[in-house]
């Protein structure tokens, strides 16, 4: 608790510190490559009868939005005098972003990665190692993001004096969900300005995939008070249906406590946390951000879940219609276009957060294709 109190007060200080904000802004501009474009997706728009815009977070340095948060927190860690950074990673996107930020700022870096992810996202594992991070395999449970977080937390409570835990999503104990949301809000703030420039009005609908929820919170947060902007979160329906086969926490879970936050949770009748499944490692998590849980309950945020096979179709659709290979995580958000359970605004403006690029997923795609070939 003491380290969380300290983090809270240090963070409050830097968020009002113009020097810190200036340095952060410069890293965002020169290192990350911000602002990222808001691209009008011509062929998708024709196909779906609305004006589809893609927020190109896939063009961020390291290939996903994760770096926005990592640079911010790594600067904060350096300010707090920490020499060593601990992080968890699922798909490896957060891990790669942490490793890059640490290399750039001269911090030591250890990343915990579940056994399953260690193998299915091996190119990201290599990138982390090239960047000088030590990747530690976690051989427990399902070997995915949840186990990686457990291991990172245990490391942190043991080395809390000299180490900083750089959490990658809007989950975990306060103040993490707030810090990550703030650093990711640059996404939504840019979108707001860019949509005004392009269309002279606010968008009608925002779409983002939700695992822990950092890209979704980052996009939604600056729009929360704009009541007429519909917010839709798309979760990983996995293989559909039963427990253990999906990661649709908001859609199918119930409230509980995991990793120090009270939020929706996939759990059994006695509160044991259930394993999750998703084709995308980045969404494969049985918890979700507490603020997103609140937004769901308040009715401000609508939630739907899409299945792995539908996601694969969207993955190819964007690749072949717009020339962009999306991360499987982001392909969940795209899938809403084909299955708009809450409708699409006819001729209206829809912004989709293209949170990451798909290079890391090629092995999974190859494997899925092979599987499909066999069943034919």
């Amino acid at each position: 608790m003491e380290s969380l109190f300290r983090l809270e007060s240090e963070y409050a200080r830097v968020s009002n510190d113009p020097h810190f904000q200036k340095e952060y802004g410069e890293y965002l501009r020169c290192f990350v490559g911000r602002p990222t474009p808001l691209q009008f997706a011509r062929r998708l728009s024709q196909r779906y009868g609305c004006r589809v815009y893609l927020k190109r977070e896939d063009l961020c340095h390291t290939g996903a939005h994760k770096i926005n948060n990592c640079i911010g927190q790594a600067l904060l860690a350096r300010k707090m005098g920490k020499k060593r950074i601990i992080a968890e990673t699922g798909a490896g996107q957060h891990g790669v972003a942490v490793a890059s930020a640490c290399a750039a700022l001269g911090l030591r870096c250890q990343v915990y990665m579940g056994m399953t992810d260690f193998h299915r996202q091996s190119s990201n594992r290599m990138r982390m190692e090239i960047l000088g991070a030590e990747v530690i395999k976690v051989d427990e449970g399902a070997g995915t993001l949840k186990e990686a977080v457990n291991a990172a937390v245990r490391d942190w409570v043991t080395h809390v004096e000299d180490s900083y835990y750089l959490l990658g999503s809007v989950v975990g104990p306060h103040p993490y969900p707030l810090i990550v949301r703030d650093f990711q809000s640059v996404i939504g703030s840019e979108v707001k300005r860019q949509v005004y420039e392009a269309e002279g009005m606010l968008p009608d609908m925002l779409l983002a995939c939700i695992g822990g929820g950092s890209n979704a919170m980052g996009l939604f947060f600056p729009f929360l008070k704009e009541e007429r902007v519909n917010l839709v979160g798309i979760e990983a329906g996995g293989r559909g249906g039963n427990n253990g086969q999906h990661a649709a926490t908001l859609a199918m879970g119930r409230p509980g406590v995991l990793h120090g936050a009270f939020s929706y949770l996939l759990q059994d009748d006695e509160g044991q946390v259930l394993p999750s499944h998703s084709i995308s490692a980045g969404l494969d998590y049985p918890g979700v951000g507490p603020e997103l849980s609140f937004l769901k309950d308040s009715g401000r945020l609508k939630i739907t879940a899409v299945r792995d096979d539908e996601v694969l179709r969207s993955f190819f659709e964007l690749s072949r219609k717009e020339g962009i290979i999306p991360a499987l995580e982001s392909a969940h958000a795209l899938t809403y276009l084909r299955n708009p359970v809450f409708g699409l605004p006819k001729d209206g403006i829809v912004v989709i957060n293209l949170s990451g690029r798909g290079d890391k997923d090629l092995d999974i795609i190859a494997w899925e294709e092979e599987k499909r070939g066999q069943t034919k």
Partner: protein, 270 residues
Amino acid sequence: MARPSESFPVLLASGRKAFIPFFTGLFPDRALFRELLLRADDAGADWIEIGVPFSDPLADGEVIRSADRCVLNSGFAFKKLLEELNFLKKRLRAGFILMAYFNTILQESPADMGRMLAEAGIQGLIVPDLPLEESAPWEECFDRAGVDLIPLVAPTTSKQRMHEAGRRKGGFIYLVSLTGVTGMREHLPRGLSEYVLSVRKQTDKPLCIGFGISTPLQAKKVGLLCDGVIVGSALIHFFLGKEKDFSALRRASSLMKNIRKALDGLGNGV
């Protein structure tokens, strides 16, 4: 034994150090768990701490995690554990203290959970991921049901929060000996006595120390500093990988007896 808030003053007055062995609920199986608790009672445990297996035990090291996994994989149910404790409560002198992660407790309302625990003979509850800042309403309900909510203090805890832990209703404070997770260690953490003294300055509540205490000698040294000793991983590790082995049971009970002796050897006011 009555609940810690009632019995600890009596223990202190008699000069006896509390010995609290820890076992994972229904580990290695129901029959051996029962046998372990009976032997702990014979060995002179004052309370027996029972951990509720959890899918994500953040505060636990490799040994207790393995035990949790073993029990969860063979179809653990919290209700079954409560049934077993209910059966044992009249047959043992020692009282029960339950260790559960918050999500287990959260499945019922505070009042209902308090009643369920009390019915099973549970006198104290430790929730490692429920901070003082959020525990007050639970503490109230449990107290009314006759269950002490035991606060935890770690080396990183501020003086203010140590003081606050001392003002709570729980019959003792659980002092985590080190910054880290449960598990056996070769040596006691450095600076332990200074740390215990710093807690004593903030509160006169009885202090029991756990995490990393594995041998009778370590227990004796720790016993000199505080009012009770908690030993878990050192007892559980005998059973890992050989869950049906009776020699493990023998070794666990002999370790418990030796720890009891080491603690008693301290005598009055040593």
